[in-house]
Symmetry: C2
Subunit: 460 residues, 2 copies
Amino acid sequence: MAQRQLLSSEARDALYGSFESGQILSQPAELENYDRDASELRIVPELVVKARCREDVQKLFELANRFDFPVIPRGGGTGLAGGCLASQGGVVLSLEEMSRIRLVDEKNLIAVVEPGVITETLKNSAREKGLFYPPDPAGLDKSTIGGNAATNAGGPACVKYGTTRDYILGLEVVLPNGHLIRTGVNTRKGVVGYDLTHLMVGSEGTLGVITALTLKLIPHPEAVAGMAIVFPDMAKATRAVGAVMGAGYLPFAIEFMDHRCLHLVQDQLPFPVSGSEAMLLMEMDGPEAQVAEGIKAMGNICLESGARRLLPAANDEERERLWEVRRAVSLRIHDTAGLYMSEDVVVPISRIADLVAALPALEEKYDLTVYSFGHAGDGNIHLNITADGPERMPQVEEGIKDILGVVLQMGGTISGEHGIGLAKLPFIAMELSQESLELQKGIKRVFDPKGILNPGKVFP
Amino acid sequence: MAQRQLLSSEARDALYGSFESGQILSQPAELENYDRDASELRIVPELVVKARCREDVQKLFELANRFDFPVIPRGGGTGLAGGCLASQGGVVLSLEEMSRIRLVDEKNLIAVVEPGVITETLKNSAREKGLFYPPDPAGLDKSTIGGNAATNAGGPACVKYGTTRDYILGLEVVLPNGHLIRTGVNTRKGVVGYDLTHLMVGSEGTLGVITALTLKLIPHPEAVAGMAIVFPDMAKATRAVGAVMGAGYLPFAIEFMDHRCLHLVQDQLPFPVSGSEAMLLMEMDGPEAQVAEGIKAMGNICLESGARRLLPAANDEERERLWEVRRAVSLRIHDTAGLYMSEDVVVPISRIADLVAALPALEEKYDLTVYSFGHAGDGNIHLNITADGPERMPQVEEGIKDILGVVLQMGGTISGEHGIGLAKLPFIAMELSQESLELQKGIKRVFDPKGILNPGKVFP
């Protein structure tokens, strides 16, 4: 990691002269909220600037160029890879106050929003007009649309609806040189020039700062229904996933929890968990009649695939309770583990059971406990790797590397949702060739020749 | 346009020495098929090389670098912007013989194909396994998946299913330096590094040559139904589109034809066309019961929005007949016009009627006749601009520029499907800022520092 440089007193003076005092945070108590994301990493920034408009973002870059300090953009701080941390000093640029929904247009099925809009707020605003913004990352009550775009955030609904990328039509971006560009379109289609919009998406705040987004919305589904299904083991559970999708059903969520997770939340479950039982959570949306028929048919397919019990949710409240169990898993793991690392690998759906089956040998080899849950419908598995305490870190990292190697051998990827940021830097070259990394660094240089935007992220 | 350079005799000798004789075309009769795409442009290439494997593509780039000649990749030749024409000399690289479907995997809902696979062939192969590859560009019986990816091809189904981009998970690409990279993933998700996959998509063969694609498939819909709806005018027709989508129905196609188009194909219609009547074609897919209910409900919404008549297709044959009418429009325009230019603008759905209403004044000003039809569900309008003969070209181009200006003022884009290629080069700077173009040229230099891949395209 490059040496962290302190802001010069000239730079500080210029910042204080350029922004209102309420826009700058520098006191330790204030900075505490900005030293972290949802990963285990902690880096206290020197200064936070809260932009209120795109001109603020441009002004900050003007100073960053003049005084040569890094700018680290930040949305809701719910990332899991440390991508918004000031690892090389400089100014954290918070976009949380750029949070206006400029437009929800039910005639054209689009929304235009600022980057600091909370994901859930947008979903609700769309809902009020009968529209649907599908992406549902886990932290949607805190994460921002700008952050979702920067990381191409996923979530359970991806299996049917795709990721954040699929809902971004156009962007307004401030480049590291302070200039503003517009990418993409305000319409549902457009093929003029290179697709800078989707290059920005998932670039983890290293190419430009998004100051507005044009989003694609779709009609809101009429109804939702869900159920939990218990299987004797993970292999039977994933076989059921294949059977359901093979029969032409496309639930909007197919989550799974392995036996370790189930045992951990046993007290919240209405049935006793035994042995290596695994659970699926399936939800379907669409027209009322179709949903009712779908849930029934998927239940039968699961029984034919060896399910032990079906637990249909009779109403929204029961559905919510199922999700609470799912969410409780992460919290419990956090509470019980001395050391906790989160990986979010993806393998082809047909290899989920193989991966889960490969874990015990690796657990033994590295003295780890791995809890797996996640999105069975798209093969995106959250591996929660735990050990007794922080002193075990070196061995845990070795174990992670081994696990990621297994994932890649299965035709998978080392990250389906979280991205690289700081946390996955040591592993990116396991997946991407030197040639591919060089191209990407070349693109970075085109956008940010001075390297002032979020330096030290994504590329080793 | 840069001067076209002839291949040196050394380069020719090296090409003949490197490929089998059947792989090289150089006779005028052979080259005739490679001097055109579906636009009006014609440029005879000096030489065509047919690659049979990725090593052939690598070998060709090796020679191109050594002898400094351009390489122009080509799929099915169904583009509408001249993107695959050898406008600066060099070798046309035909990928038509790299046409193997390597895998259609119903467990993981993916396909792995070579770039020369015909779109329809892939759709049929997926269908045989109960799966669906939704993109349906107009020339799907001739266009290739590689070409679809290079141009981010659209089609009627975009309104529900998105464009080709949304179905590309990963690519194998040969770079202009001859090196092979893999982009993206074989899984349904992945966020490792910059999204080179979606940068390649729509780059019109200027950044690299796609030699394999991993595609996302979905379960095949159970049923399809369609109907034609006649309205007294275009304004009422587009109001109906808004009303249908506002009521939560998402047909997979909403096509329209204006009164000019209707009069042109009058003899194929089962009713007399009068005045400024316009027609919509709506199709819905999904579970059988939902489709039946949807068609009925959408018909009623259209009647409430002022439709004059509903023409439901009782079966697949009748449905096909409706599409034949739609397809006949282009052919008839071609037959009747002395000069014919095709634009494919997009405006926000709510502005379609405004754009159509703005056309008569422009027609009068430039002495043109404009036929409009296209994808009403996503605002993508094919404007077929005709005049008496080729001598009218200068005035027609002025008229086109004026029309594109109106489109941009309405918040639209100058191309929803066809791309820039050669044909739209004069207009790209109307839509993209200098700053954006400079970034894109910077990316081009990263991928192709010597400028040997499809030079003179996309950027003026």
